[in-house]
């Protein structure tokens, strides 16, 4: 089973590496420029000292993964490779988890590269001879939230991609889902009465960073498990072929 997951992962990784061509690589460079150079330069020492950076590192892999995961099944269907893959000896879970893992690895690896680049830039420009590092709880939080953010996007993406008949359709659905995920809490908060907003803001400020990380991680773990379970339930060879 693990060997088969690795095999699917290998194939997906090969495809991701050649997919998108120059435009795809330019997009990654742009992302590295913003999150690895521009924002760290602008934020200065705050880039490593403010726990607010956790929001960036949850969002970046979410965005990165969504750009490749839509292709997972909808792309195979569109390019007529899905039926041949399903006619192989691979198990349903190996196909599903291999694709999931490759998308997560892609999002996390680029996010971590940007993170390292940002750290180097901040130290070079604002270090003043001192080694600037993230506090331990924030560092652990970044690792956990990038992984879980990528997992959330990959789980939702697999589910959407299983249902979509084209990559474009999958990308559109996934984009809407991510926008809702980002904007509903923001606009929901704005819509609350002022008293409630004040109360919630006080509660949030008083929460310890570690507690926020733990709560966010638990929430994301639950969402990841739920989405993967839904995708596993949805993955039926006969249904995929007839779709």
């Amino acid at each position: 089973m693990i060997g088969d997951i690795k095999t699917v992962f290998w194939k997906e990784w090969q495809e991701i590496m050649v997919w998108g061509g120059a435009r795809g690589k330019l997009g990654i460079l742009l992302l590295a420029g913003v999150f690895g150079i521009f924002l760290p330069l602008q934020s200065g020492r705050g880039w490593v000292e403010t726990p607010a950076v956790l929001i960036y590192w949850t969002w970046v892999p979410l965005f990165l993964v969504s750009s490749v995961i839509a292709d997972a099944f909808a792309g195979e269907r569109e390019r007529h490779t899905l039926e041949t893959l399903l006619a192989s000896r691979l198990s349903d879970r190996a196909i599903l988890l291999g694709k999931f893992a490759a998308a997560v690895a892609y999002g996390v690896s680029i996010a971590w590269l940007c993170l390292l680049l940002g750290l180097v830039i901040v130290n070079l420009v604002h270090g003043a001879g001192e080694l600037l590092l993230y506090p331990l709880n924030v560092a652990v939080g970044i690792v956990a939230l990038t992984l879980l953010g990528a997992g959330l996007s990959a789980g939702a993406g697999v589910l959407v991609s299983l249902r979509a008949s084209t990559v474009r359709q999958a990308q559109q659905t996934l984009s809407i889902a991510i926008m809702l995920l980002l904007f509903v809490p923001v606009f929901g908060f704005q819509a609350l009465p002022d008293e409630w907003k004040m109360h919630l803001a006080e509660q949030f400020v008083n929460l310890a960073v570690t507690r926020v990380i733990v709560i966010a991680s638990l929430l994301l773990v639950a969402l990841n498990v739920g989405l993967l379970a839904a995708a596993t339930g949805r993955f039926r060879r006969a249904r995929l072929i007839l779709d």
Binding site: W10, Q14, T81, A87
Partner: protein
């Protein structure tokens, strides 16, 4: 005892009111090329999907390589290979990576995998181009690569769903030769669907004809031709007069006479002697240059079957 690669018993698959496959009972012996013939929408692809365990039958059962398609589909897919309606190649990847992926899926050890990839690509004249992205290749080359992928893990049985469809005649003939050569060399059972009857006649030891989900004939091409078609004689020459044509029509072994500008085509009853007819023609003063006797082609048999079932 005959070893059967495929056995089905009253196998049916319905999609709502559409009966894609209906009570299909079929036995395909191991080691042969079996042609599954039928017009578009006859149920050929659905049959392959049922045999690979990709679809559940509505009724009946099927065994492939001794495994039940309902309960042992994983085993079937392990020991069989399939080239389906589409080549199923990853066009962004190189030919080598495409085979590497399917070799890994089949758990071929690394050294064996590399050797097997080289062996198959060399045999198909693709080895020098193995690093190229498949998307840049012609359809004929892609089909060759797909056949290499199908045979990579040395399956006991391969399903080929119209492998030469969409190819130009030269590429189709080349692919047919490659396919025949590889199948014979590997000793693999081939279940081939096609509506190219010349292809089936060249490649297949046995054929089955399916129409609207029903199997309407099965046997060797020769047997089908003998059962369904009547022998014909084509006589090239000059001086075929009307009295001669009347005399030929009056003969009990002659079913029909067709006069063309430079030859006569006689439709004969099964077992009719040609020599007596040639004597009659020569005796009537006609000049005979060539006499050719032939049975009905598989295409004629097929068309007759389709017409009969209409």
């Amino acid at each position: 005892m005959t070893h059967y690669a495929i056995r089905t018993n009253d196998l049916s698959r319905h999609f709502g009111a559409v009966h894609a496959v209906e009570r299909l009972t079929l036995e395909v012996p191991g080691g042969i090329v079996f042609g599954f013939l039928g017009p578009n929408g006859a149920g050929k692809t659905t049959t392959i999907r049922l045999l690979l365990g990709l679809l559940e039958p509505t009724a009946g059962r099927a065994e492939v390589l001794g495994f039940d398609t309902r309960t042992q589909a994983d085993e079937i897919r392990h020991y069989a290979g399939a080239l389906l309606e589409h080549a199923g190649l990853y066009e962004r990847l190189s030919a080598e990576h495409n085979l590497e992926f399917y070799g890994r899926i089949s758990h071929l050890p690394n050294a064996d995998r590399q050797a097997r990839i080289e062996e198959l690509l060399t045999h198909l004249d693709l080895w020098e181009r193995r690093k190229e992205t498949v998307g840049t290749w012609s359809r004929g080359m892609k089909q060759k690569l797909a056949i290499a992928r199908t045979l990579l893990h040395r399956p006991q049985l391969i399903f080929l769903d119209e492998p030469t469809a969409g190819l130009d005649p030269i590429a189709a003939a080349a692919l047919r030769d490659d396919l025949a050569g590889l199948a014979a060399r590997e000793g693999v059972t081939v279940f081939l669907t096609t509506h190219n009857l010349a292809e089936a006649e060249k490649l297949c030891q046995q054929v089955g004809v399916i129409r609207q989900g029903h199997l309407i004939a099965v046997g060797s091409p020769e047997a089908l031709r003998a059962q369904r078609g009547t022998p014909r004689v084509e006589i090239r020459g000059r001086g075929f007069s009307q009295p001669l044509l009347d005399a030929l029509c009056a003969r009990p072994e002659v079913l029909g006479v067709d006069q063309r500008p430079d030859h006569l085509a006689l439709q004969l009853r099964e077992g009719a002697e040609t020599a007596a007819l040639v004597s009659l023609i020569v005796g009537a003063g006609a000049q005979v240059e060539e006499v050719r006797r032939e049975n009905a082609s598989l295409e004629e048999v097929f068309l007759a079957l389709m017409e009969q079932e209409r």
